[in-house]
Structure formats: structure tokens, C-alpha cells
């Protein structure tokens, strides 16, 4: 019996954001936008969903008089991400792919 994949993470943009944040301490919104190629509006919505799930922390501040949004993965988010990757590996190793 396979574990059900986390629906919060099993979506292209949210998974991309989490994968970027797992490798860094924190990243600006513009960095995530550049790397994912998503629109600002769509990215904001998905970041909010990750924040609501407490997978990431979002900090809004000013840097050189410009607004800056910093995103950081939480320990809860790291745990969820690791479980998600293990579940994926389990699916793939057992039956090739979905």
C-alpha cells in the first residue's frame, strides 16, 4: 500500500518553489520568479498556500527603499518535502512510473 502524495506539494509550481528553497537558507521572491518562470500573480498565490500549510515562512521588508519579500523553508516544510520525495521514490522503484 502506497502513501498518498502530499497534495500541497504535488503541484508543479509549489514543488518547484520548495525544491529551490530546500537548497538555500532564504530567497527573495524575484529569485523564485526568475528560476520558475512563473508570473508574479500565480507565484504569490502558490507561496501563500505554502505559507498557510506552514511549509515556508514569508517575511516582507524594505531593502534600499524597495519592498522585498523573503521566503524560507520551515522545519515542517523540510519534513514534508523529504516524505514527499521518499513516497515518489517508492512509487517509481515499485512500478516504473505512474
Amino acid at each position: 500500500m502506497f502513501k498518498e502524495l502530499d497534495p500541497i506539494l504535488h503541484s508543479q509550481l509549489r514543488l518547484a518553489v520548495m525544491s529551490l528553497l530546500i537548497g538555500v537558507k532564504e530567497a527573495e521572491f524575484t529569485f523564485l520568479k526568475d528560476k520558475t518562470g512563473a508570473t508574479a500573480g500565480n507565484l504569490s498565490v502558490q507561496i501563500q498556500k505554502l505559507k498557510d500549510a506552514e511549509y515556508i515562512e514569508v517575511q516582507k521588508q524594505f531593502k534600499d527603499n524597495y519592498p522585498q519579500t523573503l521566503c524560507k523553508i520551515t522545519p515542517h516544510g523540510i519534513d514534508a518535502f523529504e516524505k514527499y520525495v521518499k513516497a515518489l521514490q517508492g512509487y517509481i522503484s515499485s512500478n516504473g512510473q505512474s
Binding site: H10, S11, Q12, L13, R14, L15, A16, S19, L20, I22, G23, V24, K25, E26, A27, E28, T30, F31, D34, K35, T36, G37, A38, N42, Q46, K63, D64, V85, L88, Q89, Y91, I92, Q97, S98
Partner: protein
């Protein structure tokens, strides 16, 4: 990127790998600081080396340039922090190591100026090796690992050599630990389209 697209398990893993790779390759060390410090120490070593023959008193002050070099270093650090859009887990640790190094060098300089111990070059070369090796080891950057080892090897040699040769050891250590890695980093930085 569209969030509505349904991902297969394999595509999900591929996406994770792609994003981790993108994040990893976004880190661009410009090499400016390494070039600045490598160049400064090499210059001071050459001038001091020449002065062992010239014997001009004021030329011994050339090592004060290392303190003056703090000014461009601060400017470089502020400029780079403004353009950096993300922070690595290791950034704070690296900053701590290099600040500790700066304080240790200042205190050692003060100690050697006041007490004038024999063979003080050895102390400086040991210190040079610490942050260099630590940085290279952390970022798996072989030129700096090698540079750190060169510093420590030079420290051993300097225990048995006269001051004139010690200055040559400073030059060699600064070249391999900072100047050469700085050149390599700079070349890679410019190659990635940065100005």
C-alpha cells in the same frame, strides 16, 4: 510555469532535480575579494623583499596597506549583498570564519609589533591557511583547499628560514591561497554573463 499541469511521479522527481540544480548554480562568487587580498599581500611581500636590500625605513610601512584594503573590502561586501537574491546555509558560517580571521590577524600583528618575537611569519602563515582551507573545504573548491595547504607548508618551512625567504613564502602563499582562486572565480563569474 503553470501550476495546473498534472505531474507524473517521474516528472515530479525531474522537476525537483532541475530546481535543486538551478539553485546550486545560481551562486556566483565574483572573486573580487580574493583578488584584492591576494594582490595586496603579494604587493606588500615584494616591496618588503626588495627593502631587505634597499633598507628604506618608510617602506616598512607598506604592510599598513592591508588595513587600507579594508575600505574597498567593505564597499565590495555591501555591493555584493545588495545584488544577492538568496542566502546559502553556509553564508553566516563563512562570514564568521573570515571575521574571526581578521580579528586574529589584527591581534597577531599587534603582538608581533609590541614583543617582536622571532619567526613571527610562521604565525601569520598558519592563520592564512585556516579560513582559506575552511572556505575551500566548505564549497568543495579545490584551489582554495590547495592554497590552505600551501600556507601551512610555508609555515613549516618558515620556521627554518631567514626573514628574506619568509617574505617569498608570503608571496607564494598569497598567490596560491587567494590570488589564483580569485582569478579562477572571476573567470567563471564573467563567463556566466555577469559584469
Amino acid at each position: 510555469m503553470d501550476n495546473q499541469e498534472e505531474l507524473s511521479h517521474k516528472q515530479s522527481l525531474e522537476l525537483i532535480e532541475e530546481m535543486i540544480y538551478k539553485a546550486k548554480n545560481s551562486y556566483h562568487e565574483s572573486g573580487t575579494s580574493a583578488l584584492l587580498w591576494g594582490g595586496t599581500i603579494m604587493f606588500c611581500s615584494v616591496v618588503s623583499f626588495a627593502n631587505t636590500w634597499l633598507k628604506i625605513d618608510w617602506l616598512n610601512m607598506v604592510w599598513w596597506l592591508t588595513f587600507l584594503a579594508l575600505i574597498p573590502q567593505i564597499i565590495i561586501s555591501i555591493r555584493e549583498s545588495k545584488t544577492q537574491k538568496f542566502k546559502l546555509h553556509t553564508d553566516d558560517a563563512m562570514t564568521g570564519i573570515w571575521i574571526s580571521f581578521g580579528v586574529a590577524i589584527f591581534l597577531t600583528s599587534y603582538y608581533t609589533n609590541v614583543f617582536k618575537p622571532e619567526g613571527s611569519a610562521c604565525l601569520f602563515l598558519i592563520l592564512y591557511g585556516i579560513p582559506t582551507f575552511a572556505t575551500g573545504y566548505t564549497y568543495k573548491f579545490r584551489p582554495m583547499i590547495f592554497g590552505g595547504i600551501i600556507c601551512w607548508a610555508s609555515a613549516i618551512v618558515s620556521m627554518y628560514t631567514p626573514q628574506r625567504i619568509d617574505l617569498g613564502l608570503f608571496f607564494v602563499s598569497a598567490f596560491f591561497s587567494w590570488f589564483l582562486p580569485g582569478l579562477i572565480l572571476r573567470k567563471a563569474y564573467l563567463k556566466k554573463g555577469n559584469v
